[in-house]
């Protein structure tokens, strides 16, 4: 999410700046909420925001739960926990944790922070570093979701909502089918603020109801796949002594819903500075919305700038 010239012209980018959000992603959550109203529930108290950096979703959650609550005194029992691999600068009323959500130990830590209480809502906007190997990138993305889901099953109250970012690649129908074991309703939603050219969309999983005969139990020695064994069985499991042969797995197509309304800005369009609808926010100066990150390749960039890395010898 660098500040390229495209971003500068992007109206959601400007709008985020205007409203004090750290990233334009905030509008994705807001537009999802416009459609599904999961954040408008007066009983919403405890939420988890996974893969949260730089933190615009946490900001939205903090505003909904605290700032915009008419009963401002009613902060008892309210809790927002935000987790990311990257460090995050503090946000009011949000507990932040720097950790890998695929690590079972991280989930154990979040459970600890919640004590014995259940969460009302879990979201994950996680996206791995894209390598360019489409199948790997899609797999890792789905694993982030499975890790988020693992936590969700340990912490979400029955009937609660889980939302997560997905990339609608080749195995997305496999994921839909797996989610069907845990939620009564699964919808694939695309907010207007998410670019039409990207594969990004969000799964909105409503009415959490795990299978009766399956009891989620976090074990730090088990991977997420092992955690879900027995919950999402779609194939013959008898083969613990032989590498299973290839089978066609169950696939389901989730209902698609576009959200954000047709009057909202189109993230694929090029707007003119003098377009009416953007005039009020066009004037906003364009400093980076979010704090500068600390990329792992910082040293390499420095070396490159000083001419120490070359393409030729």
């Amino acid at each position: 999410m660098g500040k390229s010239s495209k971003d500068k012209r992007d109206l959601y980018y400007r709008k985020a700046k205007e409203q004090g959000y750290r990233a334009r992603s905030a509008f994705k959550l807001l537009q999802l909420n416009e459609q599904f109203h999961f954040l408008d529930d007066p009983n919403l108290k405890r939420v988890v925001d996974l893969c949260a950096a730089p933190g615009s979703w946490s900001q939205v959650l903090s505003r909904k739960l605290f700032t915009e609550d008419p009963d401002k005194e009613n902060t008892k029992d309210k809790k927002i926990i935000a987790v990311d691999l990257q460090p995050m600068s503090p946000i009011d009323n949000v507990i932040t944790l720097q950790a890998d959500i695929t690590h079972p130990k991280t989930l154990a830590k979040i459970l600890e922070l919640f004590g014995n209480e259940k969460a009302d809502f879990v979201c994950s906007d996680g996206a791995p570093d894209v390598t360019g190997l489409h199948d790997l990138d899609e797999y890792v993305q789905q694993q982030l979701i499975m890790s988020a889901l693992q936590l969700t099953t340990c912490i979400l109250k029955t009937g609660g909502t889980f939302i997560a970012k997905i990339f609608r690649g080749r195995d997305i129908d496999l994921l839909y089918s797996q989610l069907g074991f845990l939620f009564k309703r699964v919808i694939c939603a695309k907010p207007r603020s998410s670019r039409g050219t990207s594969l990004e969309a969000f799964i909105v999983c409503m009415d959490y109801s795990p299978p009766k005969n399956w009891f989620p139990e976090l074990d730090v020695n088990k991977s997420v796949t092992e955690f879900f064994e027995g919950c999402m069985v779609t194939k013959d499991e008898s083969s613990n002594d032989i590498l299973p042969a290839w089978v066609e797995e169950d696939r389901v197509i989730a209902e698609f819903m576009s959200c954000g309304g047709l009057d909202s800005y189109d993230s694929d369009a090029t707007y003119h500075i003098d377009d009416d609808l953007s005039s009020n926010i066009a004037k906003i100066s364009l400093d980076p919305v979010q704090m500068p990150t600390n990329p792992p390749y910082k040293k390499a960039l420095e070396l490159k700038r000083s001419g120490k890395l070359t393409r030729a010898i």
């Binding site: 694993q143 576009s258 369009a269 030729a312």
Partner: protein, 1005 residues
Amino acid sequence: MKEISHHGPGLCVKFYDEFVYAGYGPYIEQYNYKSGELINRCRVFRKNKVHGISISSNGYILAYGARSAAVCSLSDISDNVSILQEERLLAEWITCGEFSADGNKVFLLTCYNKVIISDIIGTIIGVKTIKGERSILYSGSIKPFSDELVYISAGTVMGGVLVWNLYEESIVHNLKGHEGSIFYSTISDNGKYLASCSDDRSIRLWDLKTGAELTIGWGHTARIWNLKFFQDDRKIISVSEDCTCRVWDIIVDEDGKSVLLQQSNIYEVHQIKNVWGVDVNSDHMIAVTSGNDGRLKITDLIQTSRTGKETGSFSIQKIQDELDIPFEKGEIIKGFQWFSFGLIAVTSFGKILKYGDVNKKWTLELEDKRFSSFVIVSGISSKNIAIFMNNKADILLLRFDAVGNLQLSSDYNIKGLKKSTNCLVSIFDRKSIILLLESPNPRDRLIFLKIDNYNLDILQEFRFNRPDNFVTTCMEAFEDYILLGSRFSTIGIFNLKGSDVDPYLIRKLTPGDTITSVSFVEIEKKLPIFSVTNRDGYFNFITIDLKRSSCKRVHFSVLHSNKVSKGFLEGAYIDDKNQYITYGFKSSLFYMYNETNCYEIMSEPCGGAHRQWNLFPDGRGFVLVYIKASDLHYRKIREPRFPAVLKNGLHGREIRDISILKSQPYKNGYLFCTASEDTTVRLSHFDQDTGDITNYWLQRKHVSGLQRCKFINHHLMISCSAREELFLWDIDQDSSSRPYISTRATLPTSSDIPDLRIMDFDVKFLLNSDSFLLATVYSDSVIKVWSFDEATNKFALLIEGRYETCCLLNVKLESVAKQLYLITTPTDGHVVVYNITDYIPYELADNFQFLLENFNECKTLPLPNYITKFLVHQSGIKTFCTDSESLPRTIKIFTGGDDNAIAMNILKVDADSLGIISSSSSFIEDAASSTITSISLFDKNRKLMMTSVDQLVKVWDVTGDDLVPIDKRYTTIADTGSLDVVTLEDSSTLSLIGGVGISLWKLAF
């Protein structure tokens, strides 16, 4: 529906015996790396790609990728088209697979740090893990030292490499130092080292015993994907997102205490992005790499030292010592010419020296003081003739025999030039050569001397007037004509048989300044074709009708126009495999580049273009001679010992659009073009039986990622992209050697918004003409209609307007009932219809297929309001196609959306009112599980083919009121985004499907 061929990313490569095994999509391809021959292509997985290959000492091969794994014997891979029955499916992604030391067991490391041990037939023997370390891995490797000792190295997403002992299930080291995800780690055979790389772009070498970080290698400018120890663990090769592979020497100092990783060579091996796989054959010292561009590349790691005779360099001192004659103070080499016997050079004091390439000795041939202060050396290597000229128009010609003995010398003084500063030579015919003498004085005439190449007599002299602004830079002789390249991008043509004293001139042929080469290529339709290069990187192929030309008018046309990707272009030629080879300079490197298949042949760090240099053909290849730091260097460039590529590949990034030139077949297949995210357009050919792809040209005129490309008639093509770029291309197919493609016109841009994208276009031709009406739609909701005039090659804007503010994705021009409709689909899910009949200076011909001029005044009109719009999809309509022929007064509109749906919509034109009645007749909301990216009608508009991002290809019957599915296949092309269909004479259908790669399908129903 059957897949005939697949071209896409190659993820892994392995040398074994005389073969290279490559994981190529769901296939393993086996090549003989000595002959380059493809031995077999065997399908190993149904949907997954082969990410890794391991071969056991007893002849078994293990392939793994995503959650699939398969084991079979090597002969199974050589002999079968498929071994799908061996495919196994695990619950987790397989990060690495390896055979045990004795070859009887298989280890599979999953991305959750678990190792499954099985026997060859898949019986599970054991499962091993590390307690509490079950987070996701991006990489890992398995090192079986013996049957008892196996190490696992696992790369986590948070900078750590976990080394663990498989059978003891205990952690050996947790190596910390890297930042970001670890993308690869590997242990050396001798057990001394572990090498790793991460998102931080460094390579780290660790002491496997102590776990200490020994050294860091910086160099790659992007992420590193793979590492390999070779040559007895003394070297490492790395491959990266920066398209290079690099060799690192592990340098251990004498007391064995400190270790250094020193980058010893860099090879640019793949295009645009990502080299994934690498292996080295240490016996032959060659590397094989595979990349996102689908290329399998062989790199000679000892290209310049294979025979020990490839290079040489001499200091003045060295030459002097060897000759044992004193040189003057400051005496230097001023010029040289290479021959098959060696080198002839002249010093600044007129010493003409010979270096014998066989006896490796320098001798003084003769001394001629006339050539001491100023001298130009040239010659014809194949005729063993060297030529020297000074600034007083004295010329000396020397002829040698094949082994370098001087046979004859001849000298002349040419009258009529005040000064001579330029001398060029070229073969004229079998018996003679032609010499050009040029003066710095623009009023002096240009003098050509025709010289007998045996007795060195001047046979004839020609004098021509020198045109204004003409400074000769290169020369080519063709029949009775001499073609001179000049600065200011000018070519002068001199007719030696004619009576003209003025040349014919072609001015401003390409952008840029100096023409660096003009060379005859072939005869097409009785006319010669020349390749012309410009130092600023542009090159053209032009055909000239010399007989019809005169000083007043040159009859020529540009068949091909393009430019090189970077650097200076000094020359080019067609090699014996019909490939176009360019050469020149890239910063301090001299390079030779295979332009047809887009790879570097060689490069030499010679210091840059300002050096004194020349490239000489010597019968066995080329010899580059240059002077650097006053030393004389030569480098021989020979046919590579091993084939440079095993497979050519296509684009480095996603293919956004494909168009087949359907009007006529070309060499047992069709020409097609592809528009890619990598900003290039390619013109290629596919063979309809084998599916093999031949690359012809890679066009670099666009500077932004492509949106669309489409053949609009039998020789014109349009491509468009972001930054408001739209080009009209002309394809010439008359030559039997290769097609040519040139830019014919550029659409004017309208705004100062740099990122305004042209999303789509459509055309309608004038009857019997190359003039057409063009509709373009933009990302700022603007719609424009233009007329293109074939005579002037200009676009004129006829209609301009804006729909709303949302982005427009597609446009079509359709005519029914003598009305012309512009149909567009914005991101808001609507189909929007405009009637533009009265807004264009044309009327429709009787069959509605063409336009007729009706001589209205041409001026820009505002776009009228749309006559109808209707909502079909929830969000953007990504793709649509129309059919106005199947039903009278009706346009069928097929749409595919971001919402997983496809629809058939009917537009009926009311006969009297010409009003439109629209309806959606069929809507399939779950046509795919993700975005529909491309649809196309075929079989006389009776069937519809569709692709979606979930990698499905579906075919629908569209003859009824409902869309009826008839076939569905999985494609291994990721990011499936484009397709085109062609129906053959035998009424079978071929389809190209593009995304990250391309595949050819044959359809028969």
